[in-house]
Symmetry: C2
Subunit: 371 residues, 2 copies
């Protein structure tokens, strides 16, 4: 249920998510420009790292990143938004200025490699056949090659840090490796929750899963950037918390869009998460609300989704039940709350709003305030 | 085809492999004692590392290591021979004495974690349902959990090194991460070769595959031990080469046993590799020999194996064809050649035979001179 951020930032809600604009909002910090500039710094590192792989692994990785077609011919490339490396660089800049930013390009590439390792493996496990509008690596090369390419990208990420002469590289590697373990636990929880009966899943469990699966790597990206700026443990922890809370806000909004979102923009029809009976955050909030509509929702979720007109009408009833049981309002309020916490955490780490602006712009971007 | 060393050291050949006893053979270096002593140093590190995992990952890892049954109750444990951590510690001792050995326990645990990550993933990809006389992790917990536990063990290995304060830890991490990439390429080549027609596979390809899949981590284990003894790049490279050549010798002998081995000792009937039509080293040597029996072997390999008495007779004919085409003699001679190279590489790194004895004993153990 925890969607990949890179896949879903194109979505827009039918009505925009109502996260209040935080105090100290960025002026002159445009997320799109930050992302574009970050890509220019990180892409050469990323491509050099991938090109250092043996031919068999390189081929799968280059396909996955969208740099090549399945037959090995060059492709225009669509690597996704690359939010995570941008967070590394922007966090480094916020705490250490342009010099720290320049020194963190390899670490940013390492974080992006970890993200893509998880995408390769998640697609195998979730049997997702499409990503970034192309067949997934396992769909093209088979499960074995996709699993091995993912394994190789994880190793490559940690090799980049181990070979980086920056004084923070070892602490960053320890942090990134610990984050990978958390990402694994998050994905495990996600698949395990999907196999449980809807009535047996608590909101705390789904929130913890979303934090591990989505928040952890965003937090780690920020913390790695802080370490590369020479920041102490407290600042790194505060930026980690910022990234985690922003990640949770993202996931909450994404889950709202997964139920009521704009199919024209997403390629995914509204209600797709409901049709798949996903235990997304608004759904579990509704199921555990104790409201009368919760029982109706549980009853609807206990049956398999049907295609056709009847199924469509049922999806609309299901979405309405989530809404009437308070799932939508809860998710919006939670997202706002998480963004407010993120802003507090950011202020702890970076008290000067002029320096915090870039990170704030990125957090707002992922929660779609600016899209 | 490249079997895991931990699974197969129990095998003995009907007639022992004829690797000549090298000059400078160990006196007073008993491989079984070295392995036992190594286990006592590494086990606490390994268990502490695994116990630091989140509950969902810990459970699968503890089952995989044989410390727990599937229901979480304690098990007697059968982690295999743990050759690789013993190589780390013995290489450290050979170049740096007892102090270097004592400082390398965490690095040895890291290497063993990487080995077990590859076992977890290889079993998923190869659909192997049994390991160490128990159902494999995927057979018990499903593919998703086994893949994630493998991912987590790789991360844990690199976290151990990143958190290790030893001056060699970062260089060791770089080396181990690069080795993981090579292991992935080796496993990829292995599965790709199995899908190709027997006549299209060259001996050079199968040797390169075996070096990447089996030799690389044995070499890396020795090199990591060297680094932890403060050795320079040249000594580390020489010990890496020693481990690689010993690993190839092991694989060659193991492939011989996979065709003519003792079913009583292995649990795997003689001819099992032939029944599975594996393109093992003696088979490819025979197929590419140009001998008259090569054509008969190619013909036999082009048909699926049949169960029953007819199939049995056919297996005997197949083994005979490999032998008559020179596959067995070639493999024995290659194994002897690889062991001789290993001994040379060892002498370059550790000129004093008294210090080299432990590593030599382990190399002989894995190639079954001492079993």
């Amino acid at each position: 249920m925890a969607e990949s951020m890179t896949e879903t930032t194109e979505r827009t809600a039918e009505r925009p998510a109502t996260v209040p604009r935080p105090v100290g909002a960025p002026d002159g910090h445009d997320a799109a420009l930050i992302l574009e500039r970050s890509r220019r710094s990180v892409d050469p590192e990323l491509r050099a790292a991938v090109d250092s792989l043996p031919a068999s692994m390189r081929r799968i990785a280059r396909y996955h990143f969208g740099w090549e077609h399945a037959d090995g011919t060059p492709a225009a490339g669509n690597e996704g938004k690359a939010i995570r490396p941008a967070l590394v660089l922007t966090a480094a800049a916020a705490l250490g200025g342009p010099e720290a930013r320049a020194g963190a390009a390899r670490a940013a590439a390492a974080v992006e490699l970890v993200h893509n390792f998880t995408l390769l493996h998640d697609d195998v496990m979730d049997r997702d056949a499409t990503r970034r509008h192309r067949p997934t690596a396992w769909a093209v090369f088979g499960d074995t090659d996709a699993i091995l390419a993912g394994d190789a990208l994880q190793a490559l990420a940690l090799r980049l840090l181990a070979e980086d002469r920056h004084p923070a590289s070892q602490a960053a590697a320890a942090r990134l490796a610990a984050c990978v373990v958390e990402l694994c636990a998050g994905q495990q929880a996600d698949t395990a929750l999907e196999h449980r009966a809807p009535g047996e899943v608590t909101l705390a469990e789904v929130l913890a899963m979303a934090e591990a699966k989505t928040g952890a790597l965003l937090g780690c990206a920020c913390a790695v950037g802080a370490l590369y700026a020479g920041a102490g443990k407290e600042e790194a922890e505060a930026l980690d918390a910022f990234g985690r809370q922003a990640g949770l806000a993202f996931q909450l909004i994404d889950d709202v869009i997964g139920i009521w979102g704009d199919p024209g923009r997403t390629g995914k029809p509204a209600g797709a998460d409901l049709a798949a009976r996903k235990k997304s955050l608004p759904v579990v909030a509704a199921l555990t609300s104790g409201a009368p509509a919760a029982a109706e929702l549980a009853e609807l979720y206990s049956r398999p989704h049907r295609e056709g007109r009847e199924g469509e009408e049922e999806l609309q009833r299901t979405a309405l039940a989530v809404e009437r049981a308070g799932g939508r309002d809860w998710a919006q309020a939670q997202a706002a709350d998480r963004m407010a916490r993120a802003v507090d955490d950011l202020a702890r780490a970076v008290p000067d709003p002029a320096h915090a602006g870039g990170l704030l712009a990125l957090a707002e971007f992922v929660t779609r305030r600016t899209s």
